[in-house]
């Protein structure tokens, strides 16, 4: 079917001769014909009038009313709501934008006015209908996407003369690390993903045209594809394929969206997705998502750590608990849309119940519900509530896989510290992410943060600029003089005293957080590849801190640090070895690491010598004890024993 403003031509499917067409001349100019599945085509006229094709063909010359005056249609879309076709179009007049919703079969019409945005106007619209609500997404010229919700009204009594003003909310800001995307077209892919075609303007560089996919849940750029030949600025999307004009050709790009998860949003999924080579989106699981997500991640964790017996045994009890957890699941489903306050009080009530065998699972669901809400609502973050749960309950990573990710997102250091100290099954990937975050945080920022300092307070000298040498006799075979005796390189003395562990290289808060990392359980094989990615500067800082701890440990006879949850010498050594393994080539190359490594080497050598001497002494003492005992063994005595 094709039309020329007022002339409607209709071809038949079977007849391929283009000259043979049915023509009808209409009384008004047509704006667009929309086709709808399970409903005939709908014709939108320039004046805002809407007719279904059947009605139009009965009387082609019928009069078409003019609804809009002086307004120009900018965009239109047609949808099926139940059995009713719904047509939505937007118009512009003097900087004002209006939205019309028409149901041609019921001849109902609603007109709304869009809330004005200062110094920006809509460039592109897209819409979809869910649950009797039209969600209209508008791409504005200020590089933002706004969301407008319009309820579909059932009443058909009268056309309201007074126009309602629609308020909009910011959905997405199209900016990536300083670069701004000047969007031209917008397409909705699924609940959490939109695609934007536009040009990416990086300051100081020529703008490049890009096709981008954004995650609205986490406000992140999922992926982008450069289109160097330029586009027409238009983007269409049908059946998981993008259609766009790239240079002089029509390009079709297949895309697939993963179920939105934080891991995917921050690019931590195993294989990062590109629009043309990717796996599929599971549209069916988008409802009740939280349960599915948590179960899936549990599985993946389990695969990673096959030898974790405790996990296995815990999971084996899950099937028995199913009927109970379902009811908890239902409760949480009901609370999904409840207000924050209601949610928290309900959850507290749920947790206060007498301990049941599935209490652990229940708390897991509670935390999952909270984290889901956090993810949906970026402003919502029940810091104290989450900390309280993590501190008082025996949670594990697999019970609430999103908790740490959310905490990382929100930079909740205290919660991360608690998790690292308490969870037995944190994936190495997450441990590494925490380590990296901790190391990269500035000391000044950390000083404002409240973390548990129990593990450091007993051994870190609070006055960092106290550079006095200790004059007491240092125990356990190590003293600064001894180290200097063996030092044959020409390193300035002051320099050395700073770096050989005399003062702590990190602040109290950072030390406490790093101690939490040292305490967490890990498997070397899985951690090593991540550690390789640690930036060199951070690696050196971490190594310096480990070296400091090692020296501190060795000062004591029993090689343990004072304090609660302070790291053990084995943990320190293991991490040191691991870090050196992962970063050795980098360390060798870096001039600033050279001195540290050489000091470390000397210190370890001194310790090894000392211990070998100790072992020799132990051997001698044992032999003495043995000789002593042989002499004493022939004993005989006569004693008085009274038994009452």
């Amino acid at each position: 079917m094709m039309l020329l403003l007022k002339v409607l031509r209709i071809w038949k499917n079977e007849d391929i001769n283009l000259d043979k067409a049915f023509k009808a001349t209409l009384s008004a100019d047509v704006y667009r014909i929309h086709s709808l599945p399970h409903g005939g085509p709908v014709v939108l006229f320039r004046g805002g009038g809407v007719r279904t094709l059947d009605v139009l063909l009965e009387a082609p010359q019928q009069e078409i009313e003019n609804i809009i005056s002086g307004e120009v249609i900018r965009w239109s879309g047609a949808f099926m709501e139940g059995q009713q076709p719904v047509l939505i179009f937007t118009t512009e007049k003097d900087e004002d934008f209006f939205v019309y919703i028409q149901k041609p079969k019921l001849s109902s019409l609603h007109k709304y006015k869009l809330e004005q945005q200062e110094s920006a106007k809509p460039l592109c619209f897209t819409a979809h209908i869910t649950n009797q609500t039209v969600t209209l997404l508008c791409l504005y010229s200020n590089d933002s996407v706004y969301e407008v919700l319009i309820p579909l009204q059932q009443d058909t009594e009268e056309k309201e003369e007074e126009e309602e003003i629609l308020s909009k909310s910011l959905l997405l800001n199209l900016s990536v690390s300083g670069a701004v995307l000047k969007g031209t077209s917008l397409v909705v892919l699924d609940k959490d993903h939109v695609a934007v075609l536009g040009s990416l303007a990086i300051p100081g560089k020529e703008p490049r045209e890009c096709l981008t996919i954004w995650n609205t849940k986490f406000q992140t750029l999922q992926t982008s594809k450069e289109l160097p030949l330029g586009t027409s600025g238009q983007l269409w999307c049908y059946e998981e394929k993008f259609f766009l004009i790239h240079g002089k050709v029509l390009t079709v790009i297949m895309y697939k969206c993963e179920t939105s998860s934080l891991a995917a949003a921050v690019g931590k999924l195993k294989d990062s997705q590109t629009p043309d080579v990717s796996s599929f989106v599971n549209w069916n699981t988008l409802e009740d998502e939280e349960l599915v997500v948590s179960f899936q991640s549990q599985k993946s964790v389990a695969l990673k750590a096959e030898s974790r017996m405790n996990l296995r045994s815990r999971r084996s009890t899950v099937p028995e608990e199913q009927p109970k957890t379902l009811s908890v699941g239902e409760l949480l489903l009901n609370l999904k849309d409840a207000s924050t306050y209601v949610l928290e009080t309900e959850l507290k009530k749920l947790m206060a119940k007498a301990p049941t065998p599935d209490l652990q699972a229940t708390i897991g669901y509670v935390v999952t519900a909270l984290t889901d809400r956090c993810k949906k609502n970026p402003k919502y973050y029940p810091r104290n509530f989450l900390q309280e749960i993590a501190e008082t309950r025996d949670l594990s990573y697999s019970l609430c896989p999103d908790l740490m990710a959310v905490a990382l997102e929100k930079k909740d250091m205290h919660l991360l510290q608690i998790c690292l100290e308490r969870f037995p099954d944190i994936p190495e990937e997450v441990t590494y992410a925490c380590l990296k975050t901790f190391l990269s945080m500035s000391e000044a920022h950390l000083q404002k943060i409240d973390v548990n300092l129990d593990s450091v307070i007993c051994y870190i000298d609070v006055e960092l600029d106290n550079k006095e040498f200790k004059t007491e006799i240092v125990e356990n075979g190590f003293s600064a003089e001894m180290d200097q005796d063996m030092c044959d390189t020409k390193i300035p003395k002051e320099n050395q005293s700073r770096s050989d562990g005399e003062s702590c290289p990190v602040g109290l808060q950072k030390a406490a957080l790093l101690n939490a990392i040292l305490h967490s359980a890990y498997t070397e094989t899985f951690l090593l590849p991540h550690l390789k990615n640690l930036p060199a500067r951070q690696a050196i800082l971490f190594l310096r801190y480990l070296y400091y701890l090692y020296v501190k440990c060795s000062e004591k006879v029993n090689t343990t640090l004072p304090g609660i949850r302070s790291p053990t010498i084995n943990q320190i050594m293991d991490w040191m070895c691991l870090l050196l393994d992962a970063q050795f080539t980098v360390m060798v190359m870096l001039p600033e690491a050279k001195e540290l490594l050489s000091n470390l080497h000397k210190f370890v050598r001194a310790q090894v010598r000392f211990y070998s001497q100790l072992n020799k002494i132990e051997g001698s003492l044992r032999e003495l004890q043995r000789l002593n005992h042989l002499r004493e063994s022939q004993t005989y005595s006569i004693e008085v024993l009274e038994i009452i």
């Binding site: 096959e306 100790l614 072992n615 051997g619 005989y636 006569i638 004693e639 008085v640 024993l641 038994i643």
Partner: protein
């Protein structure tokens, strides 16, 4: 040496690399044939459950032998993956699973799983930095216990890779360190791992997941001493005979004329005297020994020989003379016991029989009679108890039946009602002729021999039940004796306590303190009465090897401090205490 699954054949691996098959016939074994001989000593063997194949471990390799043809069907080198290939790799233990998988434990501390038909290595687990010495497979073949030379044992389990998945692999699950030296032998029962080490300990470690309820089975057990009598005492002559593995030592006890208060050490007026050391000939260990109450006869037996000696003490000199023409015994004695009047010797023997020898002055011996249970018995007798009046003899055989014989007419008198536990000690009361029996589950019974029934006191004990602390003890009673001056007293001991059981006092119930001696000592005389109960327990001497009453107020106690023989052990694999 390993018996086949059906128990009809015995395979013996030899130094020269051959494997010999013996047929097990009633009363012995019979050589059947030699299997394929290859260079390299055979260190370990394992039968396939079906009896079709034998796997033999040697140095650097093991081989699989087809029993029917006698041919070696596969020879697999085990030292391939080792960088230090110059060191030889000793296969210390091996097992052939019914699936055809060969499990080997070698001197590099590895436990390896091989598909012998393909000759491929399926899995390798390095359990220790030092040698893996022994291994045992559970009945279901889903769990393996490995003993290493550092004294650690490890459990490996066949677990599914995924929960509910079909694919399974072996995972090292539980490490245990109960020994200080080599773990030479391990066994895998359905509920426990059992390990025996060079440090002279036997450890039973229950698998908690297999034990349903808390009880005797659920507790870790360590055994240091054998549950048998290694010391015998000549009461009248005040001599002690100590049995060592290769020799006997006879000591005269010292004495004192002083008296003192509780806990005081009295100066001896006569020091103990080492009278004689008697070395057994040949490499065999001494199995049992005994000294007669008068102290003039000493007898011992090894696996093949029985010897009797006449001891003469004249003044300071001691002379020992072998009794000639001792009746030949085949097989030799399992237990020796002299009668109270030192005129006859009872020799516990195979098939439930007890030989009675008459001892003749000045140094002779004559076989008088052989006592046998009327219904016959396949097990050997391992405990004997003669009565003081020489009228009765109680004998316990391996099937735990207690037969009582009348020695006047050499006739079987009666059988004590059967009980479902091993007898650990028994003795006949000198005045009442009541037989006191201690079982390995810590139960105590008193059986009147003349009346052929349990005494009323025994029935009272059974209806009342023994104190829980008593029943939960670790080591069994190994010796029972009586106080001739006080017929109500029964003296018992195990490794950790000695106990005077006073039948005239009330039995303690679970709410009272069983070990109440120290409390009693703090109470004034008048208040003690109410606190007294039948079990008077002393834990002063540990570990206790032997206790006997010499006379009314003289008790001899033999302690064997663990450190004593620990220092004699070869050095354990040095494990560094310092440094990381």
């Amino acid at each position: 040496m390993v018996a086949s699954g059906t128990g009809t054949q015995l395979a013996i691996g030899c130094e020269d690399g051959s494997v010999k098959i013996f047929q097990v016939v009633p009363g012995g074994i019979q050589f059947e044939r030699n299997l394929d001989r290859r260079k390299g000593r055979v260190l370990c063997l394992s039968w396939h459950r079906s009896g079709t194949h034998i796997v033999a471990g040697s140095i650097d390799f093991f081989r699989v032998i087809d029993v029917a043809s006698g041919q070696t069907v596969q020879r697999i080198m085990v030292n391939h993956q080792v960088e230090k290939a110059k060191r030889e790799c000793v296969v210390w233990a091996i097992a052939l699973l019914s699936s055809g998988t060969v499990v080997s434990a070698d001197s590099f501390g590895r436990v390896q799983f091989w598909d012998w038909e393909q000759g491929t290595l399926a899995e390798s687990h390095t359990v220790s930095t030092s040698a893996a010495l022994s291994l045992a497979v559970s009945e279901k073949e889903d769990s393996i216990v490995v003993g290493t030379s550092t004294g650690a044992t490890y459990q490996l389990q066949l677990l599914p890779v995924k929960l509910g998945g079909l694919e399974k692999c072996w995972v090292r699950t539980k490490p245990f360190q109960f020994h200080s030296h080599d773990v030479r032998a391990v066994a895998h029962s359905s509920t426990a791992l059992i390990s025996g080490g060079l440090d002279a300990q036997l450890v039973i470690r229950p698998l908690m997941e297999k034990v349903q309820k808390k009880g005797y089975d659920a507790v870790l057990r360590k055994f240091t001493f054998p549950h048998r009598r290694l010391v015998s005492c000549a009461r009248k002559a005040r001599l002690l005979l100590f049995q060592f593995s290769q020799y006997l030592e006879l000591w005269r006890l010292g004495s004192t004329e002083e008296t003192g208060k509780d806990g005081e050490v009295l100066p001896p007026c006569r020091m103990p005297e080492h009278l004689v050391q008697l070395k057994s000939k040949g490499p065999e260990h001494i199995y049992c020994s005994c000294v007669s109450p008068c102290g003039t006869w000493v007898g011992y037996s090894t696996a093949s020989r029985f010897q009797l000696y006449r001891v003469r003490c004249d003044g300071d000199g001691v002379s020992l003379r072998k009794v000639p023409k001792v009746p030949k015994l085949l097989p030799p004695a399992y237990q020796l016991q002299f009668s109270a009047d030192s005129e006859s010797l009872f020799v516990a023997s195979a098939r439930g029989s007890v030989h009675v020898f008459q001892l003749l002055e000045p140094g002779g011996c004559k076989h008088l009679h052989t006592l046998q249970p009327p219904s016959g018995c396949s097990e050997a007798v391992y405990l004997l108890a003669p009565s003081a009046d020489g009228h009765w003899l109680a004998a316990v055989s391996g099937d735990w039946a207690i037969h009582i014989y009348n020695l006047k007419c050499f006739q079987h008198h009666c059988v004590v009602p059967a009980y479902s536990c091993a007898v650990s000690a028994l003795a006949i009361h000198p005045s009442t002729n009541n037989l006191v029996i201690a079982y390995s589950d810590q139960q105590l019974f008193e059986f009147s021999i003349p009346e052929k029934q349990y005494t009323s006191w025994s029935r009272a004990v059974q209806s009342r039940g023994l104190h829980r602390t008593w029943l939960e003890r670790d080591s069994p009673i190994t010796h029972i004796t009586f106080n001739p001056k006080n017929p109500a007293h029964i003296l018992l001991h195990d490794t950790y306590l000695l106990c005077i059981l006073d039948k005239s006092l009330p039995l303690p119930d679970d709410s009272t303190l069983l070990m109440n001696q120290s409390t009693l000592k703090q109470l004034p005389e008048t208040a003690r009465k109410r606190q007294l109960h039948a079990f008077k327990i002393c834990k002063k001497f540990q570990p206790l090897l032997f206790m006997d009453l010499l006379d009314e107020n003289c008790l001899v106690v033999v302690e064997r401090p663990i450190m004593d023989f620990k220092t004699q052990l070869p050095l354990a694999v040095q494990q560094k205490k310092f440094g990381t």
